[in-house]
C-alpha cells in the first residue's frame, strides 16, 4: 500500500502554499538560479582557443598578378619580384564556394586576382570577391618570367586532419574538428581547396593542399575522413611555397 506522507497539499490555483512546500520551493528556486549560473559559467569557460587563423586585408584594393593553374584546385602562381620569392596562392570564393567557374577559362593564362586573405601560419588562401576580382591580366605571359616546374619531394605517410583550407585558415573559428565536419565537407564539395594539417612537418610545412594521385581534385571518398585524425600516404610535390599532397591511400588513425 502506498501511503503518501501527510504533507501540506499544493494545488497550483490555490492562493495558499503550505509552509513545507513553500520552504522547499524557495530552496529550489535558489538552487535552480544558482545551477543555471554556474553551469553557464563552467560551460562557457571550458573551451579551447580556436587558434590564430584570421582574415588579412593585405592587398587593400590592389591585385596579385600571376599564372592561373587549375589543378588540383585554382592556384595563382605569382612570380618572384626582387624582394619576395615566388608564391603559389590557393584561391577560393566567398562563402562555401570555390572559384572553379571563373578560374577554368583562365587556365594557363596570366590572371589578376583581388580579394582578402585568410591566413594561419604558412596556410594562406585568397578569397576572391566579386566578378571583377578574378580576370585575365592586361599583361600576358611573355612579359612575365616563366613559372618554374614543380619539384617532387617524394613519398610520405603523414598523420593529421583533412579540413577545408578556408575555415581552418581562420574563416571560421574554430574551423576544424568533428563539429565542423559537415561544414568542411560542404566547403570542399563547393570547390574550396581542401588541406591536410599534419602533426609532423615536411620541409617546414604542416599544411598541404590535397590532390588525387594523378594531380586532380581530392578523391571524394576522403570526405568521410574530414575532421578526424587520419593517416594519408602519397607523394608530396612543391609548387613555389605551396606543398601538394597527392593521395595514394588513406585510413582512419586507429589510435595506436
Amino acid at each position: 500500500m502506498l501511503k503518501p506522507l501527510e504533507r501540506g497539499f499544493f494545488v497550483g490555483y490555490f492562493k495558499k502554499v503550505p509552509a513545507d512546500v513553500r520552504v522547499l520551493m524557495i530552496g529550489f528556486i535558489v538552487f535552480f538560479i544558482a545551477a543555471m549560473a554556474t553551469t553557464s559559467a563552467l560551460l562557457s569557460l571550458n573551451t579551447e582557443s580556436p587558434g590564430a587563423g584570421s582574415y588579412a586585408d593585405e592587398l587593400s584594393g590592389e591585385h596579385l598578378v600571376g599564372t592561373m593553374e587549375v589543378k588540383p584546385y585554382p592556384i595563382l602562381r605569382v612570380p618572384a619580384d626582387g624582394t619576395k620569392p615566388a608564391r603559389a596562392v590557393m584561391l577560393a570564393g566567398s562563402g562555401k564556394f570555390g572559384v572553379d567557374d571563373r578560374a577554368l577559362p583562365l587556365a594557363g593564362k596570366t590572371a589578376q586576382a583581388g580579394g582578402i586573405f585568410v591566413k594561419r601560419g604558412d596556410l594562406v588562401m585568397l578569397l576572391i570577391g566579386g566578378e571583377d576580382d578574378l580576370k585575365a591580366a592586361k599583361l600576358q605571359i611573355p612579359a612575365l618570367p616563366v613559372t618554374p616546374v614543380s619539384e617532387n619531394l617524394g613519398s610520405w605517410r603523414l598523420t593529421g586532419e583533412i579540413c577545408d583550407g578556408k575555415c581552418s585558415a581562420g574563416a571560421m573559428k574554430p574551423g576544424t574538428g568533428l563539429a565542423h565536419k559537415a561544414c568542411a565537407n560542404l566547403c570542399i564539395s563547393g570547390g574550396v581547396p581542401p588541406v591536410f594539417v599534419s602533426t609532423a612537418p615536411v620541409d617546414g610545412h604542416i599544411f598541404f593542399l590535397l590532390a588525387s594521385k594523378d594531380g586532380g581534385p581530392m578523391p571524394a571518398a576522403l570526405l568521410d575522413m574530414t575532421g578526424l585524425p587520419v593517416v594519408l600516404e602519397g607523394n608530396i610535390e612543391r609548387r613555389d611555397d605551396l606543398l601538394i599532397f597527392k593521395i595514394d591511400s588513406f585510413r582512419e588513425e586507429t589510435g595506436a
Binding site: M1, S44, L178, S189
Partner: protein, 365 residues
Amino acid sequence: MSLSYKPVIWNRTKIIYDAVMLAGIFIYILIFLRLGPVISSALRDTDLPIQRMRAFGSLALLMLTIVLAIGPLARIDARFIPLLYNRRHFGVMTAIIAATHAYYVLGWYFSFSPTPQLTALFTSNTSFTSTAGFPFELFGVFALVILAVLAVTSHDFWLSFLTPPVWKAIHMSVYFAYAAVILHVALGALIDRRDLALAFLSLGGLATLCVLHLIAGRRETSADAAASKKAPEAPWVIVGDLSEIAEGRAIIGAAPGGERIAVFRSKGGLSAVSNICSHQNGPIGEGKVVIGFITCPWHGYQYRPEDGCSPPPFRERIRKYRLRLEGSSVLVDPEPLPLGTKLEPLAIPAELLPAVAAPKKEGTV
C-alpha cells in the same frame, strides 16, 4: 478543465513559475554570451554564431535534464509537486531553446553554400559507418522533431482530443529525445573537444536521471507488488484499515492486475475511485478532498466523490468502485462501475468514527 481552451489561465503560481524559469534562461544566456567572452580569451576568439549555438545547445540539454528530473522528484517527495504543476511551459521553452540552437547551427555550418541548408544538413556528412565522424547532427534533428511535436501537442486541447492514454504514450517519447540528445552530444562535441564541463552536464545528468527514476520506480513497483490482500469472499479485496485514512485523504490499494484504487474519507463517508486522474494520469489518491471535491495533486482537477464526475461545466470522469466495511477493514470490489455511476459515499458507523486518524495540521483551503 476542459470546457473551453483558453491559451493560458494565469494565476500567481504560474506567473512565479514562469518568471523563475525565464530568469534562469536569461541568466544562463547572459553569463554565457556576455560574461564568458570577457573572462575567457578562448571563448572570445570563437565565432559569435558558434558561441551562440553552444550556449543554446547546452542550455537545451540542461533544461531537458531538469524537466525529466521533475517527474521522479515529485514521486519521491510530494513537496516537489509544484514543479510538476506547470511543467508544460518548461517543456515548451526547452523546445524553443533547442530550436534556437538548431537555427544558429543551420545559419552557420550549413549556410553560405551552393547546397540548400536543409539538403546540406542531411547530405553533407555521410559517414554512417563510423563512430567518430558519424553525422551526430541527425540525432539532434530527431530530438528536435520530438520536442517540437511534444510542445505543439502539450496543450490540454490535444490531451482530450487524443485521449489521455494516447497522449501519454506520445509524451513518453521525450525519453527517446533525451537519448538522442545524449548521443548527439557524445558523438559530437564530447569526442571533439573532450570538454569536462560538457561531459559532466551530459553524462552526470544522465546518471542523476537514471538514479532518480530507479528510486521512484522501485517505490512504485514495490507498492504494486504488495497487492492488496483478497478478502475471504470474492471479489472483495482489503485495501486497508479505516484508522489509516485521515479526514479528506485517501489510502491506495492495488487490485489484482495492478489497477490502483483510492479510498477517500470525507465528512464521515468513504468513496472508492480509480487512482488514475483522467487529465494526465496523475495519482489522485495522493490528492485531497477540497471543499467536497476529490482533488488531483498534479494540476488540481476535481471530481465528485459520489459519481467520480467533475462538477459542471467540466466533463472529466473517473471510475468508481463498490466499497464495504468489515469491522474497521475497508473492502473494495476491484470491478469498476460504469463511468458516471452514482454511488453515495459509504457512511462510517458512529462507533468507528473515533478511529479517525489524528487531524491534520494544514488546513484545506
